[in-house]
């Protein structure tokens, strides 16, 4: 550690010997203890659990090695079938929802960026759903898309006279309330990030482009979009991470149905572990799914690491 700002000579020497020795570690201690107990230890403990046949009613756990990991890669086991199917469901949700969540947030931010009458009201309206808790949001959207008399079916009836669609009980269509609800619920976060990024784009660029006769689309394509690339990368990664963690929305809106077609992988893991009491199997799935997530969490980590490095250089 090379500190550029350490007080010169005379001050550092006595400090190092007498005080600095222990004090910093005392500050770190409370967090370090909790960090060890609730972050480090559970990883090792989870590995231990996943390699035993964990029985909640027994104190002696039988060692089974990698059996539960092998199950996940052996065709024919229920774990194989449901783990990969729900993982596919979750991936489908991510692939569909991330572009929508990023594009609609960007669109709204562009609409709201320039001053307009009622701007803060609009901002508040678009952000507000995000503060609702997931079960409130889920129950509300289940009602909105009710098979018979939901508002969506009522509006369709009013506009086109079409017969109600049983959204919640039709495979495939059951994703619609989940995706629409998720967009409604989380759009405001990405929009706020984009608005902040947009306010950092110099107005003079637009003024110059507009004097040169650039159309609004050209301005967006050649100024806004390139200037927003870093924040877009961030938004895509965090949104994809959040989408892969799908749990509450599908649980409360469709409860994974019909016939597991909207069950997320996390819901399946909790079902395996907590409903079926297959603790070890669920722990193994957690590891396998977690390892896949590492691609995204790793990318997120790199972004934060860059932030740390640049702030250290700047100090």
């Amino acid at each position: 550690m090379t500190t550029t700002h350490a007080p010169p000579g005379q001050h550092t020497a006595p400090h190092k010997r007498s005080r600095i020795s222990l004090e910093p570690y005392l500050y770190l201690l409370p967090h370090a203890v909790l960090f060890f107990v609730f972050t480090v230890y559970p990883i090792g403990y989870g590995l231990y659990i996943s390699m035993h046949r964990w029985d909640l009613l027994n104190s002696n756990q039988q060692f089974v090695g990698f059996e539960f990991f092998r199950n996940l890669f052996t065709a024919g086991t229920p774990q194989f079938e449901f783990f990969w199917r729900t993982l596919l469901n979750t991936t489908f949700f991510t692939v569909v929802s991330v572009p929508l969540l990023v594009a609609s947030a960007l669109g709204l931010a562009v609409l709201l960026h320039r001053p307009i009458f009622g701007r803060s009201f609009f901002r508040a309206v678009f952000f507000m759903p995000g503060i609702l808790t997931v079960s409130v949001m889920g129950i509300l959207w289940r009602w909105m898309f009710d098979n018979q008399i939901g508002l969506v079916n009522a509006a369709r009836d009013l506009l086109t006279g079409a017969a109600p669609i049983p959204w919640l009980s039709t495979e495939g269509l059951a994703w619609v309330p989940i995706v629409v609800g998720t967009i409604w619920w989380t759009l405001g976060f990405n929009m706020t990030l984009y608005l902040a990024a947009l306010s950092n784009v110099s107005v003079s660029l637009y003024e110059a482009a507009s004097l040169d006769g650039a159309s609004p689309w050209q301005q967006f394509r050649f100024i806004t979009w390139p200037m927003l690339t870093p924040i877009t990368l961030f938004v895509v990664i965090t949104t994809a991470l959040a989408s892969f963690q799908l749990f509450g929305q599908s649980l409360t809106i469709t409860n994974g149905g019909p016939s597991r077609s909207t069950q997320s992988v996390i819901q399946y893991i909790t079902e395996e572990g907590f409903t079926n009491s297959q603790i070890s199997s669920a722990a193994a799935m957690g590891f396998v799914f977690g390892l896949m997530m590492l691609i995204l969490t790793g990318a997120q980590f790199r972004m934060m690491a860059r932030d740390v490095t640049s702030s250290s250089e700047g100090k």
Partner: protein, 292 residues
């Protein structure tokens, strides 16, 4: 884009703005339509909650409650299946306790990491930072078994402690502390201030915005936590609001008037908090790029 630095003179700017005004009208109309779409579910929630159960599912649909009533609210608030006020209190207590402990623990850790020199400082910082890469699902099952072993199932402890050492808060505060000019601290050191006094009298007062941001996010995170309390708290009296509400959705499967009354009641504290904390929330999001 090689254009000389713009000279935003009054004369050049004023007509530019005026010309744009008519062009703002379509934009304004689009925003109005989108706002209506965004508010429709909220209107529908409140409107349904004020209808009788028969009116709620009446066909053709009732856009406005024909026989407005508060019966659903009375039914929900006096429900024998769970006390929504009790759940709100549980959520509030858990979220507040969690927030206080989390902010204190994070500040204590971020301080030496940002402002002191000691052996292993960088190593430790990178170790805890890299834990951000561990997806929560990995530790879900083992932490649940730990709660069983600690006998913490159905206790507030399970809802408070496991997340307290979250590293994002350390990262956020460390980044902020690092940016505080050293000169203030050096002057205080010369005056004989201890490290703790520097933290308490200089660093923390200067960091109020980032502390508030962290507190708002910690509170929201805990308040909205769903998966973990869903499995660690099964005792109806110990449930938090998000979990309690879902038991209503199982109890009143198709009684949408009551369901919407319960979700409206659950949304009210969040909406009030949002109006109060809006400034910090949005400022925090913008400055940290932090997201739920």
């Amino acid at each position: 884009m090689t254009i000389t630095a713009p000279q935003p003179t009054q004369t050049a700017n004023a007509p530019f703005k005026k010309r744009r005004l008519p062009r703002d009208i379509p934009r304004f109309l689009i925003l109005c339509v989108l706002s209506i779409l965004f508010l429709a579910p909220v209107y529908w929630m409140i409107s349904t909650s004020l209808k009788t159960e028969a009116d709620a599912i009446a066909s053709p649909v009732q856009w406005w409650p024909a026989h407005p009533t508060l019966d659903n609210y009375v039914a929900v608030l006096t429900s024998p299946d769970g006390n929504i006020l009790r759940w709100t209190w549980n959520s509030l207590f858990v979220a507040l306790t969690f927030t206080v402990i989390h902010v204190v623990v994070c500040a204590l850790t971020a301080y030496p990491l940002a402002r002191m020199n000691f052996r292993g400082r960088n190593a430790w910082f990178w170790i805890i930072l890299s834990s951000l890469m561990i997806p929560g699902i990995v530790t879900l099952v083992p932490t649940y078994i730990m709660m069983l072993n600690f006998n913490w199932i159905n206790s507030y402890h399970a809802l408070i402690w496991p997340g307290v050492s979250g590293v994002f808060g350390v990262f956020l505060l460390r980044q902020f502390f690092v940016a505080i000019p050293r000169e203030l601290e050096e002057a205080a050191t010369l005056d004989g201030a201890s490290n703790f006094q520097i933290l308490w009298r200089i660093i923390l007062p200067l960091s109020v915005p980032s502390l508030v941001t962290l507190a708002v996010f910690a509170f929201m995170g805990s308040w909205n936590n769903f998966l973990w309390p869903l499995f660690t708290v099964t005792d109806v009296d110990k449930m938090t609001l998000p979990v309690g509400i879902t038991t209503f959705s199982q109890r009143y499967t198709t009684e949408y008037g009551k369901l919407m009354a319960s979700t409206t009641l659950a949304a009210v504290p969040a909406l009030i908090a949002y109006l109060v904390a809006q400034r910090f929330l949005e400022a925090g999001l913008s400055t940290t790029g932090l997201k739920e």
